[in-house]
């Protein structure tokens, strides 16, 4: 049996839950283990109930689990809310003086977090390090790795802070080694070198944007894409990125159009409500044929919805975004690795075809940490499309920004970078970019823009496909549900049920040619989505005419787990 341990740290906002979870995950990754960690928090800065789940294995992980081996409770509410998720052989750990549990629970283990922190470091704040140390002690893990991770994490703090954290962790480590409850026998040891990255989906998107040579980001803070704005703002000086916190999302998208028209790779990032404000601006990118990359990190709507939770409710909005008809591409990364590598692809498609490209993520992918092989950037190509740089050539003296071409792509000139005059208009325009009301020109320009789909279709990011002989069903999904679908499929296989998988990394242009052969397989087609109505199922019907047999949906704002899929299949008699 592979190692599979699941931890949860729960408490109020402001208690440092994220730090405990992150350091625990990082410590395991540095020890060569694999980690998937997801976060659940409320839209508040203090109080409420938050948790951070860390799952550890010696095999790669792409999804969270619900059943817990260890629950670290920083307040009483955490125990009340999550005690049923803790296995009989598991542990509930916390400060007895804080939790004051009324009923006895054989799984409970007292851990004097605050006292140990005060004794070793003279500061209650260090109880987070005590907690991480305590878990490592329980698991008999190598303390040296935790020591190094703490010093790395606090490397910008004074030496004393580093020492205090290490000492606090050591106290927790020693405490649980000595007081290990007899019923708890789980252990884990490092394996291998641990030279892997540990990061979230939106950190990966940010790094992907930098790798792609993004030089301009305008955005308005909005969960779950704010980390992209913050990360790029912090790196702007080193990587030549102008980062602007815009006054609103309407400004952000229009800034992106202005920056891109002037000649750099430009991006914005938002969530559903901000994206709604950008709709007109995305149409502007469409008609002016200006490249634009838009990260749409979905969260549950409508309107403000559940601000800090996850959902896949904006697929059809993205597919149909904008007034009128114009080409666009929509990439739907499933993993942290996808989030990195699809971002340069988004920039390439945007510039080559001079269209808006949407990177459609969700809170679950955005905020979940995963360990990945260090990104091999050797495979990243920068394709800026056709850009004219000549000075006195004929093209320049009679430059037509919207020249009718067979591919639908008109070579770009950049204002001020040659003597060509670059003119474009949000009104329908002629080849020169001047506004027109001509029926003939209108017809030709719309056709020209839509012709870009021919090229775009040849560059579709292929869906992940798994075909098994004698499969009884096909699980279909897109974006962040991939890990859960893949794991559910493995568990079904262990029960003797073979299962196909069709998972979309790009939903538009819709990969019809790749999808039809999978849909033609025997067995039931089941679409799994984090939304209420089945938007991918709808799109499949619309694009292929094929019927979906069963839908598994979840719209409570919490991510879909492998167990959720398995239970839903059983309930549905599939």
């Amino acid at each position: 049996m592979p190692l599979d341990l699941n931890f949860m740290v729960g408490g109020e906002a402001g208690q440092g839950i994220q730090t405990i979870g992150f350091i625990l995950g990082k410590t395991m990754v540095r020890g060569g283990l694999h980690v998937f960690a997801d976060q659940d928090y409320e839209s508040r800065i203090r109080g409420g109930h938050n948790f951070f789940r860390v799952r550890i294995s010696d095999e790669p992980l792409l999804a969270q689990r619900e059943q817990l081996d260890i629950l670290i409770a920083l307040n009483k509410e955490t125990v009340e809310l999550h005690r049923n998720e803790v296995k009989g052989t598991g542990l509930i750990i916390g400060d007895e003086s804080v939790l004051k549990l009324e009923s006895a629970d054989s799984r409970f283990m007292g851990l004097p977090l605050e006292n140990l922190a005060l004794q070793t470091a003279g500061n209650k704040i260090m109880s987070n390090s005590v907690a991480v140390g305590a878990i490592c002690g329980l698991l008999d893990y190598d303390f040296q790795i935790l020591d190094a991770v703490l010093r790395w994490h606090f490397s910008k703090s004074p030496q004393k802070i580093q020492d205090d954290n290490v000492n606090a962790a050591r106290a927790g480590f020693d405490y649980t080694k000595m007081h290990r409850p007899p019923h708890f026998n789980l252990k884990c040891s490092p394996s291998g070198t641990g030279e892997r990255m540990f990061l979230t989906g939106h950190e990966a998107v940010s790094l992907g944007a930098i790798a792609a040579g993004c030089q301009f980001l305008a955005a308005y803070p909005m969960t779950p894409t704010t980390p992209i704005l913050e990360l790029l703002a912090g790196k702007g000086r080193d990587y030549d990125i102008a980062v602007i916190q815009a006054e609103d999302e309407i400004s952000a998208i229009n800034m992106v159009v202005g920056a891109s028209f002037t000649g750099v790779r430009a991006m914005t990032a938002t969530s559903g409500s901000g994206f709604a404000l950008m709709v007109e601006g995305i149409g502007l990118a469409g008609i002016t044929e200006t490249p634009a990359v838009i990260v749409l990190g979905q969260r549950p709507g409508p309107a403000v919805g559940l601000p800090t939770r996850t959902e896949q409710g904006e697929l059809l909005m993205a597919v149909r975004v904008g007034t009128g008809e114009f080409p666009r591409a929509i990439l739907t990364p499933a993993t942290v690795e996808d989030a990195f590598f699809l971002t340069p692809k988004a920039f390439n498609l945007a510039e080559k075809y001079q269209i808006p490209v949407i990177i459609l993520t969700d809170t679950h992918l955005a905020n979940s940490y995963n360990d990945v092989e260090k990104f091999d950037t050797g495979s990243i190509m920068i394709d800026r499309g056709e850009i004219i740089s000549g000075e006195v050539s004929e093209i320049v003296t009679d430059y037509r920004r919207h020249l009718i071409t067979e591919s639908g792509i008109s070579p770009r000139a950049l204002p001020g970078m040659s003597t060509a005059l670059v003119v474009t208009d949000s009104d329908e325009h002629n080849e020169y970019g001047h506004l027109t009301e001509s029926a003939v020109i209108r017809t030709e320009q719309v056709k020209k823009r839509l012709r870009k789909y021919e090229g775009l279709k040849s560059e579709i990011e292929k869906p992940r496909v798994q075909i098994k002989p004698n499969a009884e069903l096909t699980l279909i999904g897109w974006g962040s549900t991939f890990g859960a679908i893949q794991e559910a499929s493995k568990e079904l296989e262990q029960e003797g049920i073979a299962c196909n998988i069709l998972h979309f990394n790009q939903v538009w242009p819709f990969p019809v040619a790749e999808v039809i052969p999978v849909l033609n397989q025997k067995g039931k087609k089941v679409v799994v989505e984090s939304n209420a109505t089945g938007q991918l199922a709808y799109l499949i019907r619309a694009e292929t005419g094929q019927k979906i047999d069963y839908q598994i949906n979840k719209w409570d704002g919490r991510p879909i787990s492998p167990q959720y899929i398995l239970n839903a299949l059983k309930r549905g008699g599939i």
Partner: protein, 293 residues
Amino acid sequence: MAGIESRTDIAFQDFASSVEIAWCPGCGNFGILRAIKRALVELKITPYQVLFVSGIGQAGKTPHYLKCNLLNELHGRTLPAATAARIVNPELTVIAEGGDGDGYGEGGNHFISAMVRNVKITYLVHNNQVYGLTKGQASPTSQKGFVTKTTPQGAWESLNPLALAIAANASFVARSYSADTEHLTKMIKMAIQHRGFALVDILQPCVTYNHVNTYQFYQSRVYKLDEDQEYDPTDRIGAFRKSLEWGDKIPIGLFYKAERPIFEDYLSVYPGDPLVRRPIRPERIQQLLEEYL
């Protein structure tokens, strides 16, 4: 300008466009178009060195009747795009242009933010106090009591763009009048030369839909601030007081000017070459990836 030979023999003719003009005969926009061309010629700016970002409305069409780079934006969204363009390529002369509905109504939030940011762009607002393109509805600057089909009981209160600009600490605030080409040319030239955000609010009679604020109305009321020796355009409080003057006498000229740092200086990517001239160097990401190990 790197790579391209600069010209100094710029003439009016260099800016002549063959695009057919769609304005009503007698429109105040003609005077503005003329003044823009004169300002560019006198400042020896060649067509390819200037980028206009215009909005929607009759004013937004102006750059089509010029030879220049042009991003004809959405309604009200000139300033975000102009801001970005200027940041990406500070070698460009960036001029945003639109009407009162476009800039003071639809684009109000951007107007305030652009003034606070103080990016070096010139903003020309054709203020005719009425919606022309949609055929005669009230605008944010319509005079109180101005009767239109959407305001049959007369327009409600009117926005004072100059007072707003001075309050938002715009670093250059001017008003001119479309029928006084000489004065308007001078204001536009000063605005283009100003290091920072420069607003020129241009009083412009709409001969078709505004029968109140006509040529005759302005001719008898406007007077020039620069002829007043006492007026100090560096005094913000005085400028604010002056901006409230509107009635039998209407001041035109430079209301307020301040030297303050521009947003480009604040951005961490500058000083240095224009962003657009910097090569993409994807290999640099390696160092950053190490931070996640």
